[in-house]
């Protein structure tokens, strides 16, 4: 087994030992199940597909939860090991710093993917068992939602590594992580909305699209709520995005870029860091 795989497996074992994996899976499954059952009560009357309602509710939840999980898993992973002194010992072994970071990222990504797939999968299975009428495109939407949720989590994992590699103290990393979460998940949208209202009409459609794509949380939202006509009809509150038509590859590309770029910069900073 090579160094990267060894480190990834170690990270997953840590996740099992300190109960992170089980806790995350239970949280995601708990939310997903309650949204599936409670959230579909009104849908039954208007005849909307229950699974699609679940997709809309779950993706609204994921936008808040997965960035938080991603940041929580990763903000401490480099600076924490440096402060505890385990990094010094780690790097005395035949591994490069890039190995260390790649291994940790793979491990964390596996934890995140496992928790999301199992957590949301349980909800999907529950809807199926209940005997909901499930259309083909609803299943596609559900799969896409789960996969893009993992990517969204991965983007914030990468941002967490970037934070962890650039600070000098763990406390700073925790503070910045909270700040990053607030900005990307809450403040950015509000600011964008304010700008939109203020310059009503005069802001170019192209610029607006770019501004939406720059934020991974918005790219995720566009992908899941705007990508399917049926879903779009259900997500009335985000109607302002109905006009924004972007190719699917652009949204996936943005999410992937948000995974890779922060990780790359984090690797560069980590390589230059004095241990």
């Amino acid at each position: 087994m090579n160094a990267v795989a060894t480190i990834a497996v170690q990270e997953i074992r840590d996740g099992l030992r300190n109960r992170w994996i089980i806790a995350l899976t239970l949280i995601l499954a708990g939310f997903a199940l309650s949204l599936t059952f409670l959230g579909s009560a009104p849908g039954g009357n208007v005849g909307a597909s229950p699974l699609l309602v679940t997709v809309v509710s779950l993706s609204s939840l994921s936008i808040f939860l997965l960035p938080l999980i991603g940041l929580m898993l990763s903000y401490d992973s480099i600076i924490g090991e440096i402060e505890r002194g385990t990094m010094l010992l780690f790097l005395s072994y035949p591994v490069t710093r890039s190995h260390v970071m790649a291994g940790k990222f793979l491990g964390h990504m596996t934890i995140l993917a496992f928790a999301t797939i199992v957590g949301y999968g349980v909800a999907g299975a529950a809807a199926f068992v209940r005997g909901d009428v499930v259309e083909g495109n609803a299943i596609t939407a559900f799969f896409n939602m789960t996969a893009s949720s993992i990517l969204l989590g991965g983007a914030f994992l990468g941002l967490g590594y970037l934070i962890s590699a650039s600070v000098r103290e763990r406390g700073t990393a925790a503070g910045i992580a909270i700040g990053v979460w607030l900005v990307f998940v809450l403040i950015y949208d509000m600011a964008l909305l304010a700008v939109l209202v203020h310059f009503s009409g005069s802001i170019a459609q192209g610029l607006f699209q770019v501004l939406l794509l720059v934020n991974p949380a918005d790219a995720y939202r566009l992908f899941n709520l705007g990508g399917f006509d049926n879903v779009q009809a259900l997500s009335g509150s985000i109607g302002m995005m109905a006009d924004v038509k972007l190719p699917v590859w652009a949204m996936i590309g943005v999410l992937l870029a948000w995974v890779v770029m922060p990780l790359g910069v984090a690797g560069y900073l980590f390589n230059r860091k004095d241990i």
Binding site: R13, R17, G85, L89
Partner: protein, 306 residues
């Protein structure tokens, strides 16, 4: 058997304008044990980090097993290197054996020797206990066990014996001798100078980032020229008489049955011959060579390269 394993060639390190290592040249040969001695901030840890390739020298060169430890070949050469940091910590949720297995995989060595290594440091019974239940000394011993994974050719040990009881300490030094005889090169830093004395051949003394003395204990004693202290135990009542016979010797104390004096290291044998000529009136001789502590203080206060 005199291949240079660890080399500092005019190596210097500057952090933000502050010189922490001032052009040190030091060669450590294969199959030797060298003690790195110096106060905190003398540059010992910086030297260890340079050897590990964690930092690069600002000037000069550092070589480990012939390769630049911070270069592309450095990663591979670390397979043959064992390191014990000054403060050791592990992830507490692992068991001792888990930790050893993880580190053995990183080093790509057989996991089978792990139990034996744990046994060697007295942790066989605790192997399946979580590290968070370990005492400080047990963690230190686990640190030693991981450093010895895969029969390393180079061992870098920062304060290795803190937290070891006398018996384990003896076993630790026995292990070092064995590793050394098998061809390992061992560099250890320590404050416990008195226990190093009988265990090491060579000492490198650091002060403010400079290497101020380097050589075998014997050479350093001769160069330092610290007086050797001797004490004669004499037959009752003959102390004064004996003191008179040792004319020309700087007598410190005459007290009933004992005569104490000091002499230069080079005169030691000459004086011993004179003492033995005195005959049966001298019942016993105690010789006190300058200890490593004294040598260290001497070179530290002198502060010049010798």
């Amino acid at each position: 058997m005199s291949e240079a394993t660890l080399q500092f060639i005019d190596a210097g390190k500057t952090y933000g304008g502050k010189v922490v290592l001032d052009d040190v040249s030091l060669t450590i040969e294969q199959s030797s044990v060298v003690a790195l001695v110096g106060h905190n901030g003398a540059g010992k840890t910086t030297m260890m980090k340079l050897l590990l390739g964690l930092i690069r020298p600002s000037r000069g060169q550092v070589k480990v097993l012939g390769a630049d430890p911070a270069g592309p070949d450095g990663v591979e050469s670390r397979r043959h290197l064992g390191f014990l940091p000054e403060t050791i910590s592990f992830q507490g949720a692992m068991t001792g054996l888990d930790a050893m297995n993880f580190y053995a995989r990183l080093k790509r060595v057989d996991l089978k020797q792990n139990m034996e290594l744990l046994d060697r440091v007295g942790l066989a019974d605790a192997a399946r206990m979580r590290i968070k239940t370990y005492s400080k000394g047990m963690r230190q011993r686990l640190g030693l066990a991981q450093a010895m994974l895969g029969e390393p050719k180079v061992l870098l040990l920062d304060e290795p014996t803190t937290g070891l009881d006398p018996q384990l300490r003896r076993r630790f030094y026995d292990t070092l001798s064995k590793l050394k005889n098998d061809g390992a090169t061992i560099l250890l830093s320590s404050h416990a100078l008195s226990e190093l004395e009988t265990r090491i051949e060579k000492v490198a003394i650091m002060k403010n980032g400079r290497l101020i003395a380097n050589g075998s204990l014997h050479d350093l004693r001769n160069k330092a020229n610290i007086p050797v202290r001797m004490r004669l135990l004499t037959r009752d009542g003959s102390a004064d008489e004996i003191a008179n016979q040792l004319a020309g010797v700087d007598i410190n104390l005459v007290n009933g049955r004992t005569v104490e004096f000091s002499c230069a290291a080079k005169d030691k044998m000459m004086i011993l011959r004179r003492v033995s000529e005195i005959g049966v009136a001298v019942e016993d001789v105690e010789i006190q060579l300058p200890s490593l502590d004294q040598l260290y203080s001497h070179y530290r206060d002198e502060g010049t390269v010798s």
